[in-house]
């Protein structure tokens, strides 16, 4: 391991609404910082190559694969993970509720990533068609469900959020 790899940089960012600062090595993945440095294991690793979406988190409003995201890049940005999705009243968010309600959860290992991808989608497009939902979840693999209950959960969440507005 060369000295360059061990070089640390100081980063500061907002994580689920709270300021965080820590020093990370230049090549560290955001995923490892979240899971191992900060102990937020809700974000999962399924492939480590940007293929499965289990590691999806939201950075500055965009869904990204934390397994491909270099940790130093989050400096100054806003990061939201599954742990930051609860309502202010500490209740499940609408999306989390509809995932439970629709039976979109089996082993649940894809669920945090699916839910984060859903949040990014609905923040940008509050009334997606089923086709748009499926296209938005294309990068999130699920091996247990047939995606039907997941798409239903997203649709239901969109309806409920719409009513709230």
């Amino acid at each position: 391991m060369g000295p360059e790899r061990n070089m640390k940089t100081e980063i500061a960012f907002t994580l689920n609404g709270f300021p965080v600062s820590l020093s990370v090595s230049a090549h560290k993945r955001l995923l490892d910082v979240l899971r191992y440095d900060l102990g937020l294991t809700g974000t999962k690793e399924g492939c480590g190559e940007g293929e499965c979406g289990a590691c999806t988190v939201i950075v500055d409003g965009r869904a990204v694969n934390a397994c491909l995201y270099p940790a130093p890049e989050v400096d100054g940005r806003r990061v939201v993970t599954i742990e930051g999705l609860m309502d202010p009243e500490n209740e499940l968010s609408v999306i989390q509720k509809t995932f439970v309600q629709s039976g979109a959860i089996q082993c649940g290992f894809c669920s945090p990533g699916m839910i984060m991808a859903t949040k990014a989608l609905l923040d940008e497009n509050p009334d997606p068609t089923d086709e748009e939902i499926r296209a938005a979840l294309l990068g999130n693999l699920c091996r247990c469900t047939g995606y039907v209950q997941i798409v239903e959960a997203v649709r239901l969440a969109a309806e409920k959020l719409e009513k709230r507005r």
């Binding site: 999962k44 699920c142 047939g146």
Partner: protein
């Protein structure tokens, strides 16, 4: 019977909330104070002799605590569910790319990985054995002391020659099905440590904690009670975590270092190392009379079990048992071989041999119906097995047979009834009206043995506790792999104890705190554990009548032994109970690009009474997705024993765009007399028929019979071009 309050309904999964919050701790999430990271040095060749292993450079890497090799395995350096032919750490020979040669434990994962690269292994490279047919030859170099044929079987019923002589139609085809990866989203993972009582504890991802405990204890030379294994939750398994994966390696590191240890396989390592669905070649010859009666099924089945046995023998047994589908055939001859090669390593996977056989027999059924100009569903119905009939391997079907009910239900379904319209009218499922777009509808029917079958210990013990506040706790050692079994257990416990579902808690998969409920496989848990819950509830209610509930509450244990067939034809052969299913698929083929789209699937499933309805539908839809994967995308590829596709960029899984929105699951609830509330199981049946239904739909669409999976766009194009010529 009184109306049921919770059974058959749609409660929320017990674990759903923890899962959507990201709070459920999966094996890969566990971290312990002072833990070491463990990484494995795997073989550099599919087949080689190990000449020497030099760990000195690896041990010198900063942060490395130990490097372990075969000589550090204190007990028997071998494991395997049925035959212990797989080394924990190889000492003289490697037989596939996933073979473990050494273990590195270090303070950080980076250090462990660096050390792995510095372990020097000198090999004498041997020619890989990659063709099962050649491997079976007497002069082939033997991969194991007993030769390369792990298991063989021959069964006969009647006389196929006579059957063929009487047949008006005879169809002969050879089928080839690929190696399939389970691709559970969470790779194999776990932690190990010594617990307060001094037990070497492994928290991991297995499907049967008591067997894992035995396998760990044997390899470490420890008494069983010194080893504790837990595995309540994991991110999917489908049979792929039935065999040992990380458990013994973890235990070994903690044993030597006395420190907690953690392992998580990378995706590439997972695909290379764990068991797969057996690739198989299947030769079939089937005959039927002019009036459409099946007269003979002859087949030769060769399954490539790869480097080690795992469950290769029983998988072949089920392939043979289910070789003629859910049909009554007077004359059957089947020969089966499970053969060792250097092509990876295969074992249990949803369907367990039935999946492979179903592809072949359901293709044959379709071809025969065509040749006889008969409706494919009617042809199946006319030949279907009934209770009291003699099955393909010549034993009597002694429990209710739901096959016909699922076929009839499929016939009443929208897709089948209006298939002509679906094929012409594009207003539904609109994609394109172009003339080069062709549509087809296909069906497939299937049966699937439930439980481990005759001759293998198959029981479930559970503990029920009633506490002073009226809460009920179910303790069972099966795992929650995602299938929703714990919710079904809670529903059954709530129902028979007369308490609301919210009052029931399920504690799972811990050799210390839960009794032995058997494997989490073979579609058996709802049935087996459910029955044990009912028995224990009876006992508990009797206790409650007799005495007051103390502070501790009242606990009882009961064991349910699965009923088995009264004949034994082999290990796990045959079964007494089966689940049944009929699938109908609508596909669309673009004959210019070769692109295939599955537009709709209907699933008619007899798993007995449905306990957890949302879970039942979810499993069925997931089965459809996996069936599509097996039909159209998935294949582990090799070049002379070397894996070519070890991540999801090249091993392609069905996405949200590949699985149709239109999946209709219809329960055909033929209540099983011995089942809890009439339930059986459905976790395999829901997938197996999907693949051949798609193949049959493709034939209907473009008139081409595909006999090799997966069917890719280029296969379609080639076939279409050939037909034009």
């Amino acid at each position: 019977m009184k109306a049921l309050k919770t059974v058959g309904r749609r409660p929320r999964r017990l674990d759903a909330e923890a899962k959507v919050l990201g709070e459920l701790v999966y094996p890969s999430d566990r971290c312990l104070e002072g833990m070491l990271w463990v990484e494995v040095v795997r073989s550099a060749h599919p087949h080689a002799r190990i000449e020497s292993v030099d760990t000195s450079a690896a041990a010198a890497v900063a942060g490395v605590v130990c490097v372990l090799t075969a000589k550090d395995v204190p007990g028997e350096n071998a494991f395997g569910i049925q035959i212990q032919d797989m080394p924990v750490l190889c000492h003289d020979r490697v037989r596939y790319m996933g073979d473990a040669v050494a273990l590195v434990a270090a303070e950080s994962r980076a250090a462990a990985r660096e050390a792995v690269a510095r372990v020097r292994v000198d090999y004498e490279v041997l020619e890989p054995i990659i063709d099962p047919e050649q491997a079976m030859q007497p002069d082939a170099p033997a991969l194991h002391p007993g030769g390369n044929i792990l298991h063989r079987g021959h069964f006969q019923k009647g006389d196929v020659e006579v059957g063929f002589k009487k047949s008006a139609v005879i169809i002969e085809r050879a089928y080839q099905v690929p190696m399939m990866d389970h691709a559970y989203l969470e790779t194999e993972a776990g932690v190990s440590y010594y617990d307060d009582s001094g037990s070497l504890t492994v928290e991991s991802c297995g499907q049967y904690v008591y067997r894992d405990q035995t396998q760990i204890a044997r390899a470490l030379g420890l008494p069983l009670e010194k080893v504790r294994v837990t595995a309540p939750y994991t991110g999917g398994a489908f049979g792929g975590k039935d065999e040992i994966t990380v458990q013994i390696h973890l235990a070994l590191v903690t044993y030597h270092t006395k420190r907690p240890a953690k392992m998580v396989l990378s995706r590439d390592e997972s695909i290379v190392s764990h068991t797969k669905r057996h690739p198989a070649r299947m030769w079939y010859k089937t005959g039927a009379s002019k009036s459409g009666k099946l007269l003979a099924v002859w087949c030769r089945l060769v399954s490539d079990t790869g480097a080690y046995a795992s469950l290769g023998g029983p998988v072949l047994n089920l392939m043979m048992e289910h070789c003629a589908g859910p049909y009554l055939v007077p004359n059957v001859s089947v020969d089966g071989f499970a053969v060792y090669t250097n092509n990876g390593f295969s074992g249990a996977f949803r369907g367990f041999g039935c999946t492979q056989a179903c592809v072949a027999i359901e293709s044959q059924m379709d071809l025969m119906a065509r040749a006889l100009r008969r409706d494919p569903l009617a042809f199946r119905r006319d030949n279907v097995l009934h209770k009291g009939d003699r099955a393909a391997l010549d034993y009597e079907m002694k429990t209710k047979v739901g096959a016909e009910a699922t076929i009839r239900a499929a016939g009443r379904g929208k897709l089948y009834r209006t298939r002509g319209k679906f094929k012409r009218d594009r207003s539904e499922h609109t994609r394109s009206m172009a003339p080069y777009i062709k549509r087809g509808v296909g069906v497939a029917s299937q049966m699937q043995g439930l439980g481990l079958g005759v001759g293998l210990p198959d029981y479930a013990e559970v503990e029920l506790n009633f506490s002073p506040d009226g809460a009920v706790t179910v303790r069972a050692s099966t795992s929650e792999l995602g299938q929703g079994a714990y919710t079904a257990y809670a529903q059954m416990a709530a129902e028979c104890m007369g308490v609301p579902l919210e009052k029931v808690r399920v504690v799972g998969a811990d050799t210390k705190t839960t009794p032995d409920s058997g494997t989490t496989t073979a579609s058996r848990t709802t049935y087996a554990v459910g029955n044990a819950i009912l028995m224990a509830a009876g006992k508990l209610r009797a206790e409650l009548d007799k005495r007051a509930v103390g502070l501790e509450g009242i606990s009882v244990r009961e064991t349910f032994h699965l009923p088995v067939a009264d004949v034994k034809l082999g290990d796990g052969l045959p079964h007494l109970l089966y689940s049944y299913g009929t699938h109908v698929a609508l596909v669309e083929v673009n004959t210019l690009t070769g692109e295939i789209a599955v537009l709709a699937v209907e699933a008619y499933l007899d798993g007995g009474r449905v306990i957890f309805r949302t879970g039942f539908e979810g499993q069925s839809e997931g089965g459809v997705a996996q069936g599509i994967g097996y039909a159209l995308f998935e294949e582990v590829l090799f070049d002379r024993g070397r894996f070519l596709n070890t991540n999801f960029d090249t091993y392609i899984l069905p996405t949200s765009m590949d699985v149709p929105a239109d999946i209709r699951t219809v329960p055909v609830e033929v209540k099983e007399d011995t089942g809890p509330y009439g339930a059986k199981g459905v976790s395999e049946t829901c997938m197996v028929g999907v693949t051949p239904a798609i193949l049959n739909a493709l034939h209907d669409a473009i008139g081409v019979r595909f006999t090799r999976l997966p069917v890719r766009a280029e296969d379609v194009l080639r076939a279409v071009l050939e037909r034009r010529r």
